[in-house]
Symmetry: C2
Subunit: 327 residues, 2 copies
């Protein structure tokens, strides 16, 4: 076990090498081509990096964590493929979504088989760790599906509480980040308390991350975000902003928000007016304050992890860079 730690760049490189070696060149091609396609679209590889960092934090062997990191990346991509069908999305990372490119049947089926391969890659672990990993992963994966269902439920709902919205993003997004980190801790044989503190760190960071995502859509810079501002508003999407704004608005503003969110107002007009109301209500400040609560909770949890402070630096910097996101 070596004492020096890996940089995120080194871990990224190791992960991509592993991924290239396990690239699903199997038959029938019709089943495996969509898997290669979605994985090759790239992305930040945030979840597998978290697994590798979680392992590195406790001086675990990175080689042992690679299949587990791949498993979480496969699971994440499986959810993207199936969610894009459910959401009728056309683009993913500026490319056609899998069902647009290959048809819905192949998108469903290749997603299904990815899910099985998640367990195949977890299956690389030695038995004691495997068992712990499966317990954690199953619980998490079930939460993720429940979160997606809550998200689907919320879309046509008139009113959603902030509490329910936060639960939804915890389930749909945050627990997988938390799980990715804790799986790394399991690979490194960290004790349960440390693993749980790391989980809490990841969960709170994940909620914070999603809140910032909501904010970027309304207050980001188009050139940096890389997509049109106000996309969530245009789609009447429930976000922290739309929900909290409805809660804060006085009667006339509230009526206006309800009007814009429930009627087929031309998109440009809708976005313009809703953003005006968001500004008037001080939504940017309000959402940032909420995000910071989770940010603090995250770093408090990380403080509880019993490991040399020096070793936490990489993870802290990585988290800070994610939380400073402008895209």
């Amino acid at each position: 076990m070596k004492e020096t730690m890996h940089s995120p760049q080194e871990l990224y490189k190791l992960f991509e090498e592993y991924r290239t070696k396990h690239s699903f060149s199997f038959s029938p091609n019709e089943l495996y081509e969509p898997i290669r396609y979605i994985l090759d679209l790239g992305g930040k590889r945030m979840r597998p990096l978290l697994t590798l960092m979680g392992c590195d934090l406790f001086k675990g062997k990175i080689e042992d964590a690679l299949p587990v990191a791949y498993a979480v990346e496969l699971f994440h991509n499986f959810t993207l493929v199936h969610d894009d069908i459910m959401d009728n999305a056309h683009l993913r990372r500026n490319h056609p979504t899998v069902h647009e490119e290959f048809g819905t049947a192949r998108a469903i089926l290749s997603g299904d088989v990815m899910m099985i391969y998640v367990y195949e890659f977890l299956n690389h672990l030695e038995t004691k760790k495997f068992r712990k990993a499966i317990d954690l992963f199953n619980t998490t994966a079930i939460r993720v599906c429940e979160g997606q269902q809550y998200d689907l439920n919320f879309q046509p709902a008139k009113e959603v509480s902030v509490k329910d919205y936060l639960m939804m993003i915890e389930f749909k997004t945050a627990v997988l980040l938390a799980c990715s980190l804790k799986l790394g801790a399991i690979v490194a044989d960290a004790d349960e308390t440390n693993g749980n503190d790391l989980f809490e760190f990841g969960k709170n960071m994940g909620i914070c991350f999603q809140l910032l995502d909501d904010m970027l859509d309304a207050f980001g810079e188009e050139s940096k975000v890389g997509k049109k501002i106000g996309g969530d508003i245009a789609q009447n999407k429930k976000t922290y902003l739309s929900i909290k704004a409805l809660e804060l608005a006085k009667s006339d503003e509230k009526e206006k928000l309800i009007y814009y969110f429930s009627n087929n107002v031309p998109v440009d007009e809708k976005v313009k007016h809703v953003l005006e109301i968001y500004h008037k209500l001080g939504m940017e400040k309000c959402a940032r304050a909420e995000a910071e609560k989770f940010h603090h909770a995250a770093f408090d949890s990380l403080d509880n992890v019993k490991v040399d402070e020096e070793r936490k630096k990489v993870l802290k910097e990585f988290a800070a860079s994610l939380l400073k996101r402008q895209s």
Copy 2:
């Protein structure tokens, strides 16, 4: 470990009791309702019964096999839900399919979460058996997805060989029956060779079972089968009959078959003419001979299983009853 064996009826009852106790009454209801719906549609529970019988054969504890039996039933139902979307099917066991009843998004998502619960129920096993079960189940589940993809590939294909068709039904249908049995053997801690022989028995029986299914569609009695004869022909489905008939037919009959299978001939006329050609070519006899080859192979494999002949009786009778199927 008791020496007396359970009848299929007793095992069925035990399974249904277990299932009722684990009936997915979770939140959000939108996610779990489709699971209860598909499971409550019934069916023969062939796969879980095979798991329980496989366990009973080697004097294993039925209680230990129940969660595993439930896992295979969940997996089977997950494939039904997703396959029905891919095949655009409207009816399943005389009821609306899950996506017809609850919409495609909920059908995809509840299928996904069922898949995760498969592993949750396998997770009831003690560690050594769990590991073996996961190895077998993953390999099988991957095969099942590949089989479904081959089936999708074959539908628009002009010609499919009998060899490829038999591989497809082995993957799509037979290996899961084989796996169900062998999982029972694993629960009972049977030795590997016995488990493999039982697997071969199940696999060959599964292929035989599917060939008989193909035959029922053309040569069954409508009142017994419970659906209109010639459904596969009406849908231009690749079956053993359509593939083998094309192989056996002389030029004029072959042309006719190609004409009927590729053109929008009125359904009644199409079914009538194709059945005429099947009769002329002696397809019933031919398909039965093929089915019997697998039937014999199945029982040869069962002969190899080293366990009191007396204990094999239940399984033999169950298999014989399946293979005498008229519905």
